[in-house]
Assembly symmetry: C2
Homo-oligomer: 281 residues x 2
Amino acid sequence: MKLATVRDGSRDGALVVVSADGRRFTRAAAVAATLQAALDDWLAVEPRLRALTHALESGRAPAEAVVYQGGSGVLLGPCDDIPLADETWGLDFESEVCVVLGDVAQGTSAAAAGATVRLILLCNDITLRNLVPAELAKGFGFFQGKPATAFSPFAVTPDELGAAWHDGRVHRRVRTTYNGTLVGDVEAGPEMHFSFFDLVAHIARTRAFAAGTILGGGTVSNADPARGISCLAERRAIETIAGGAPRTSFMKPGDTVSIDMLDDDGHSVCGRIAQKVIKHR
Amino acid sequence: MKLATVRDGSRDGALVVVSADGRRFTRAAAVAATLQAALDDWLAVEPRLRALTHALESGRAPAEAVVYQGGSGVLLGPCDDIPLADETWGLDFESEVCVVLGDVAQGTSAAAAGATVRLILLCNDITLRNLVPAELAKGFGFFQGKPATAFSPFAVTPDELGAAWHDGRVHRRVRTTYNGTLVGDVEAGPEMHFSFFDLVAHIARTRAFAAGTILGGGTVSNADPARGISCLAERRAIETIAGGAPRTSFMKPGDTVSIDMLDDDGHSVCGRIAQKVIKHR
């Protein structure tokens, strides 16, 4: 089942279910007004959303055309521009797989974590590289270095991935295109050191999490250089090892990045993130 | 104006307005169902909440009795037990002043930040001290070391503090009682190095924030030791300087902490946080 949110002027946007081919959707307001409302009461809502999906696929529900992902707090839609106020901040993309969790009790083990994963999607975990070193040096972690994140158009239930979802990993390639050139076609599964189940157990060690928590798996990366890169920092590191200094610059206004994940038939699983950098103000 | 949330079985709880003496409240469902909904549309909602407060004070609105603070995500109410799974984690309280923000645009200056502060409240920013050093050493900041935070029963509009709210600081004493003994009666205003306005400008440098963001001002602390402490780590540091090693242990099941802030007449501004540590599971 594919879910998405359509902008309707409200904070969270309107929940819709999407056809398997990603080309049609129908509003789910009669079942749950927002994605957060659906996650808050998932066990009751999920079967009704699945029924609505079946109605959409069989032509019994009205289909609509273009979809965008919204979210609570300040997040970016899949085709939103990336506003950059200062080029010296070192803007970078990061292609990542994320999961959306249901309620997670304190002390949930990795073995029990599978039941907490409700949805899978992609994100562009945008980073301001040149602000990061000073933040890490203080020990208190990222803050200014991590502006608003962009998400894929669709979030899918784990069954949509079939056998590609196992052991808490998504065994699909994440493809990243930078300024029109494919720069990464990277396996997200086998080299993911900590699975999403491990990560759930880690975050829940000392506290519970509420339905709607988005958990990112980190930038997708493979040891094989032929698979390419999922962020410019990785390319700059490779260049530094090879030649002593990075040759690739960080992103500038006008640059574009797109992120996608295809199934065995070449169909997009979560839809494509496609963004352009613009000057902020 | 004092606001609070009453547990009603829903995720966010029901929004209520509270009388000036903190003893009565009335439901605000006809104006806004939840505190988040009020913050999402504050300019339209605030005058109606104020009218409801006037009706409550004048006896024209029905009053009810006991209030609790809820919130989105997993937060603790003011009288919730603090669940502790492992005493070696080093449980500590931290008495803090917080503000709740409206929408904050990217690049908001400290001079413009005053207009973004909607509400003021207290929190117990619970910390697991012995998990913090390893987390800080990794550079990525607190995670397991910061379990769910508890908040005061009421959140008040800045005008409730009168002249005590100026320059983005709350010029009131925060009183902390540990196991029945007053351990801190600390000025929150004059020694707050960065004002809330400075902090808003800092967090908004590279991104926007959504209405409902809670911004904590850090543990309240004074240079004068006679004012006491707002967390056990501070006392342990004083003991270490004086005698080479800390004598005070961190919190154990059965320990209690309460946090309050009084006005010039000795009335509680945001109500009292009063919690007990219990063994988790």
